[in-house]
């Protein structure tokens, strides 16, 4: 599951990184065709904006999707979550640590 999410996100990110480059290549080609043509400033900036929002919303969808799933899956009222976790056998479940830390 986790690997799948990561794989999908990497593919998406590579895709959104490549698509604008195609746009740029074609924009550059169009530029050279007519010399008197000024670049369209507002189109450049707004295109940049929409590329950035695409990236932001893609990452946002992944993160908030993960978050909603986490909240749904690991709420204590979820039937799958009846059994106490292994950490709850400790006197203070939060005092334990995954890490082997030197004192």
């Amino acid at each position: 599951m986790k690997t799948l999410i990561i794989a999908i996100s990497i593919i998406t990110l590579v895709a959104i990184a490549i698509i604008p480059q195609i746009h740029f290549a074609s924009a550059q080609l169009a530029q050279t065709q007519s010399a008197k043509q000024y670049i369209n400033l507002r189109a450049e900036v707004w295109n940049e904006f929409f590329r950035m929002t695409t990236a932001a919303f893609t990452v946002g969808a992944i993160v908030s999707g993960t978050m909603i799933w986490l909240v749904w899956r690991f709420r204590e009222s979820n039937p799958k979550n009846k059994a106490p976790t292994k950490w709850e056998h400790l006197e203070d479940p939060t005092a334990g640590s995954y890490e082997e830390e030197g004192h």
Partner: protein
């Protein structure tokens, strides 16, 4: 997957996205800061609380700016009192007017119409009403 691997993968993805953001905005900024050589200079002066404009041929205008479609214009933005910010939202023209400095912005309108001009930096009492309009006209000379 080890304990730290997930976090490293996550950080790597974040850094990849940021590199993309950085490179992309570097390229676009480079492109939009490149002022065309034949751009006509318009002096823009902000003061509390209106804009005045001076064309290259000496014509002066207050609050309403007339430009011609298909030409590039370079704004030399100055301020006479406090900080203002010259902004034509529809044409993505935006640069502060700082007293003692001359800042630059340019655009090349390709559409006829009337567009609002406004001040986007807080400049006191009537900041909200420091508005003007940009009129883009057809170029009849060609």
């Amino acid at each position: 997957m080890g304990h730290d691997t997930a976090e490293w993968v996550f950080v790597a993805i974040v850094i990849a996205v940021l590199c993309y953001v950085g490179v992309d905005s570097w390229m676009v900024q480079k492109e939009v800061e490149d002022v065309p050589a034949d751009a006509e200079v318009i002096k823009v002066t902000g003061q509390q609380w209106f804009w005045s404009f001076e064309h290259a041929d000496g014509t002066k205008e207050i609050s309403t700016l007339h430009v011609k479609k298909g030409h590039a214009y370079l704004f030399e933005i100055q301020s006479r009192d406090v900080m203002h910010s010259f902004n034509i939202p529809d044409w993505v023209v935006f640069e502060d007017a700082v007293p003692g400095h001359t800042n630059h912005a340019w655009f090349a309108p390709d559409q006829v119409g009337t567009y609002p001009i406004q001040c986007r930096e807080y400049c006191g009492l009537l900041h909200y009403n420091m508005r003007g309009s940009l009129v883009v006209e057809d170029d009849n000379s060609t």
